[in-house]
């Protein structure tokens, strides 16, 4: 891709410095005179009915301004479906008074029998969390089936069948900045909300519909955001802050504590996967059957819709997958970076490894034998275009060959797939009178997208990067942008920016042809100038054209750019192979993850530094969820509700990370890019489990892997 001069270059993020120096403004930094602070009362019980809420003592506390309860607000229910569910809320003059008032509210509960395990919840005698969608089972929230061929024939053709049950625990996204929001009505009744969120327009739509207001009367501002990873896609505290602000007439701020994050945010879901995979002695896969049971907690939230988006790596002629989500009396899960992919990849890629082992085949050769190719069908029956699965396997094979074998070490390999969304994307591009450019976007910058958009504008106009000013502005100012998620942001926003900047070029060329004897189509840009392609004229600097246009009848050169896709997902197939090297202490069974290498098809890396950052971060998060993390419950109550006991990886837990970028351009992506925000974390738990198996001979089927009985890993181990 050497035709670009700036795309594909390692450009640092300009927002990095204000973030590390503390200059960046986050939601909790927003304050107003007379602002009130909200606090929430939560149920300690997982399943109960509220008999009464006594607010009299809290009302008497000086500084308390408003109290919301199930009696006076539809935001709260008297039916409790999980421990941590909000029961009441209040606003007070300072956070301490708010907390104290919350503790003075007396709630009387009638407790009921609860159910926490999704398999238990499916049995006909289990307590009903919500009405079941199934005739056969209790508490079914959703069920879908994916099928092809004939299972019986497929299994009959097989020489070997491997059957296992995998369990993945509930993992919090553990973003640094907890959910926070400020709500304020102005005298005209217009609402402004500052919030830590991935998509400001989603918040605007939800709040406007809740309040029955037109969207233009609701302004949502997303200040800098301290991480999200899918955990900030839906409203949590905003409706409460808005109602409290409305009642009191004062701005209201609510910041969730870390404890509240762990008991009432939307973590990655728990999942149980029972799977049978079959192959012939020669290594040909013949059939696969699986029952996938998501724990969706007290309401729909588990990401059950992404099966085709993340599976379909191998030619399996006969398959049936039943995907359930099941209600339990637990908190409601949500999206966590490539929602649905990590748990499925863990199970299915462990199966592949298991089968290869049983057949005595090399795990890479086994995968290559069955890997899908251009022209093969996805699970849902779409036809694959050119894809990078084989290439990533080949590169992984070379890497493995170079690894020196040592005692107590293991090497694992696993593959993954993901597809990015596009989403409605708009930008405004203005050529300033000095030739610099402002780009206004409504997309929250989580990953460095604004840096990349600046690169695109600079590239297309052949002007230097410091002439481009990209800003995320709020819903009153910026054009619509779908939420930053689904690996869509750079993809969709780059498309919109590409459209905008190409329109700007067209306008420039038209304007330039009034000043040079050249037709608009014959122009190009070079070194910051508009020049005829045939060199018939020395050209005019863009800076000059901008100034002339501004003060002529033409007026300022301002354009918009848009992009979207009705099918939600782009035709962009991202394949990854990862290789993990681990070491097991023969005395203690302790595992050290030495190195994880990731061979990922990224289409085209607009900014390799940012792409590598996404991959490295993803691997460490995957290691977190798969290896270390998981909410621990007792009777529905989260025990590890803080970052001491809920153990995310530290720098010392992170292995050496080797991101290798494979560039097989996507057909319809801008500059051939593919989404890179999510897929990197998908494979890591599987690859670690496979490496641990290689080192010890033990196949771990439950996350967090570290909580296996270490003793089984001690002693002279495995197949070394």
């Amino acid at each position: 891709m050497s035709e670009h001069w700036l795309l594909g270059k390692r450009v640092p993020r300009p927002d990095a410095i204000p973030k590390v120096t503390g200059e960046a403004v986050y939601t909790d930094d927003i304050t107003f005179p007379g602002m009130l602070y909200g606090a929430v009362v939560r149920s300690p019980y997982a399943c109960a009915s509220i008999r009464s809420v006594d607010t009299s003592r809290a009302e008497q506390l000086p500084g308390v301004r408003a109290i919301l309860t199930p009696t006076n607000s539809s935001l709260f229910s008297t039916e409790i479906l999980y421990a941590g569910q909000k029961v009441a809320a209040l606003a007070a003059t300072d956070p301490h008074t708010a907390q104290e008032a919350a503790s003075l509210i007396q709630v009387e509960y009638q407790r009921h029998r609860a159910v926490f395990d999704p398999i238990r919840a499916m049995s006909r005698d289990a307590p009903v969390v919500r009405p079941s969608r199934s005739q056969e089972f209790n508490n079914v929230c959703s069920h879908q089936r994916k099928e092809r061929g004939d299972l019986e024939t497929g299994f009959a053709q097989a020489d070997i069948i491997v059957e296992n049950t995998y369990r993945v625990g509930i993992a919090h996204q553990a973003y640094m900045e907890p959910h926070a929001c400020v709500a304020r009505f102005d005298v005209s009744g217009k609402l402004t909300v500052w919030t830590s969120i991935q998509g400001q327009f989603n918040v605007r739509a939800s709040l406007a519909s809740m309040l029955g207001m037109p969207v233009h009367d609701v302004r949502v501002i997303a200040p800098e955001i301290g991480g999200a990873f899918g955990g900030k896609t839906s409203l949590i505290m905003e409706p409460i802050a808005v109602v409290l602000a409305k009642i009191t007439g004062a701005p209201v701020k609510i910041v969730m504590s870390r404890q509240e994050e762990f008991i009432d945010a939307h973590p990655g879901p728990g999942c149980i996967i029972h799977v049978k995979t079959a192959a012939r002695q020669d290594g040909t896969l013949t059939a696969e059957w699986a029952e996938i049971i998501y724990d969706t907690g007290a309401a729909p939230g588990a990401p059950t819709g992404n099966f085709d988006r993340t599976r379909g790596l191998y030619r399996i002629p006969n398959f049936r997958y039943d995907i359930y989500s099941v209600y339990t009396h637990k908190l409601i899960p949500g999206a966590y970076r490539a929602p649905g992919a990590l748990e499925l990849t863990f199970a299915f890629e462990s199966q592949i490894d298991h089968l290869a082992g049983e057949l005595g085949q090399d795990p890479i050769e086994f995968r290559l034998k069955n890997a899908v190719d251009e022209g093969d069908l996805t699970v849902d029956g779409k036809v694959y275009p050119t894809i990078g699965l084989r290439e990533s396997l080949h590169q992984a094979r070379e890497q493995i060959k170079a690894v020196e074998h040592k005692p107590h070490r293991g090497i694992g390999v696993a593959c993954g797939k993901w597809m990015n969304a596009i989403g409605a994307s708009g930008v405004i591009l203005t050529l300033n009178e000095d030739g610099s450019v402002n780009l206004t976007s409504g997309a929250v910058d989580l990953t460095g997208v604004n840096t990349v958009l600046a690169q695109i504008v600079a590239e297309e106009l052949s002007i230097s990067l410091d002439q481009i000013h990209v800003q995320t502005r709020d819903t009153d100012v910026a054009p619509y942008a779908a939420l930053s998620g689904g690996s869509r942001t750079t993809y969709g926003m780059s498309l919109a920016t590409q459209n905008a900047v190409r329109q700007l070029k067209k306008d420039l060329f038209e304007f330039a042809s009034q000043h040079m004897p050249v037709s608009p189509e014959a122009f190009t840009v070079a070194d910051g100038k508009v020049v005829p392609r045939d060199g018939s004229h020395t050209g005019i600097p863009i800076r000059e054209l901008a100034r002339i246009a501004m003060y002529s009848a033409r007026g300022p050169l301002t354009v918009t750019g848009s992009a979207s896709d009705p099918s939600w997902l782009a035709d962009s197939y991202i394949f990854i192979t990862q290789v993990a090297e681990v070491e097991v202490d023969p005395d203690t069974g302790e595992i050290t993850v030495l190195r994880v290498s990731s061979f990922q098809d990224v289409g085209f890396a607009l900014n390799p530094m940012l792409v590598e950052g996404q991959i490295e971060g993803g691997i460490v998060q995957g290691l977190g969820w798969g290896y270390l993390e998981g909410l621990v419950f007792d009777k529905g109550v989260v025990l590890n509700e803080n970052l001491t006991e809920y153990k995310i990886p530290t720098a010392l837990d992170a292995p050496e990370l080797v991101p290798v970028l494979i560039e097989i351009p996507s057909a319809d992506g801008p500059y051939g890019i593919k989404g890179v925000g999510e897929p990197s974390m998908v494979v890591t738990p599987a690859v670690l489990a496979n490496a641990i198996h290689d080192a010890t001979g033990i196949r771990l089927t439950e996350t967090p892997l570290v909580q296996d009985d270490l003793s089984t890993r001690q002693g002279p181990l495995g197949n070394m």
Binding site: P44, A83, H96, Q99, E100, D585, D587, T588, G589, E590, L628, V632, F633, D634, V637, L639, N640, E641, T644, E645, K647, P649, T650, A651, L652, D653, P704, V706, Q707, D709, L710, S711, Q714
Partner: protein, 330 residues
């Protein structure tokens, strides 16, 4: 958060006078503040020791002891040249304690007096026996991190990494009281649930831990501290072992073996020490010592792995000791 009085006395005597019902000592605050935020500690008066001159000093004194003021930070101790020279085992323990940021604030006294980390004890929803409530929720509950030794109606483990290491070095503590002060071997400092279900050491409300003394280890002594935790930093021990061994020729003449993370107190295994003394440290003997160390283990539902872990850690530590002696010979 409840209001409280905050006082910074300038002498130990002043501090002792301020003690009493509702008063609590504040050192680095890395544990106490967490306890206060969760409503586990509700002091009416906080006595901040950081105004007392000399309480953070680390000195060697003529009679061969190292004296560590209770207010010395963990970082300060880990960086002290005398520690590097005589007690490398302490450095190993300190390097595996919490995180650099916490070590810069946490004090040695506070580390020995820190409260249990049991998640039922720390959680507001579980009124357990250690909070003057009823019963132990870990029994029959989520007991992966709990005790395999010495539990009795309560199955906390002592969270300190420093305590087993200091105990293996025969440390003593100095305790100040308005009337007199006393010196107590660290082995007698900690209190298990058979003796108290609400406190983990012998300090009364009227007392302050002022210093820790460590004798110079015997000649040819080797010490090591090994710890296994799920996360490589900022994590408490699943199990740990502190070992101090000395030899005359090939014969073990001195042995201390103390386990961490497996009992309500740092768990000294005297039966192992006794069987090691007077003999060579052969592979066979090491295996027997490892078995012996877990003789009286009574694991709960989900923490049987700790039995194997203790054996593995002890095996590793004793082999390291053996190797170091062989190296010393060459």
């Amino acid at each position: 958060m409840k209001t409280f009085e905050y006082i910074t006395p300038e002498t130990i005597d002043e501090a002792l006078e301020l003690l009493g019902e509702g008063a609590q000592i504040l050192a680095g605050g890395t544990d106490l503040l967490g306890e206060m935020k969760r409503g586990l500690a509700t002091p009416k008066r906080l006595i901040n020791l950081k105004g007392i001159q000399g309480l953070a000093d680390i000195r060697s004194i003529p009679d061969g002891f190292l004296t560590i003021g209770s207010l010395a930070t963990l970082s300060h101790l880990a960086e002290h040249p005398l520690v590097a020279q005589h007690y490398p085992l302490l450095i190993e323990a300190l390097q595996r304690t919490a995180s650099p940021q916490i070590r810069n604030i946490a004090t040695v006294g506070g580390n020995l007096c820190q409260r249990p980390r049991c998640w039922y004890y720390r959680h507001s929803a579980f009124p357990c026996i250690r909070k003057h409530g009823e019963g132990c929720f870990a029994m029959g509950g989520q007991d992966r991190y709990h005790a395999i030794f010495g539990g009795h109606r309560c199955f906390i483990v002592h969270p300190s990494d420093l305590a087993p290491a200091l105990m293996a070095l025969d440390a003593e503590v100095r305790i100040a009281h308005a009337d007199d002060s006393r010196i107590v071997p660290l082995t007698d400092f900690f209190v298990g649930p058979r003796d108290s279900l609400t406190q983990e050491n012998i300090l009364t409300r009227q007392e302050i831990l002022t210093a820790i003394r460590i004798p110079v280890p015997p000649d040819n002594a080797y010490g090591t501290y090994l710890k296994v935790s799920e996360r490589k930093a900022t994590d408490f021990a699943l199990a740990s072992v502190a070992v101090s061994i000395a030899w005359l020729d090939t014969q073990v003449t001195h042995a201390r073996v103390v386990l961490g993370g497996v009992a309500p107190v740092p768990w000294r295994v005297k039966q192992v020490e006794e069987m090691l003394i007077g003999d060579e440290l052969s592979g066979k003997r090491i295996e027997r010592a490892c078995e012996r160390a877990v003789d009286d283990a009574t694991p709960l539902r989900h923490n049987r792995y700790k039995v194997a872990l203790v054996k593995g850690l002890l095996r590793k530590a004793l082999h390291a000791a053996h190797r170091s002696r062989e190296k010393g010979e060459k």
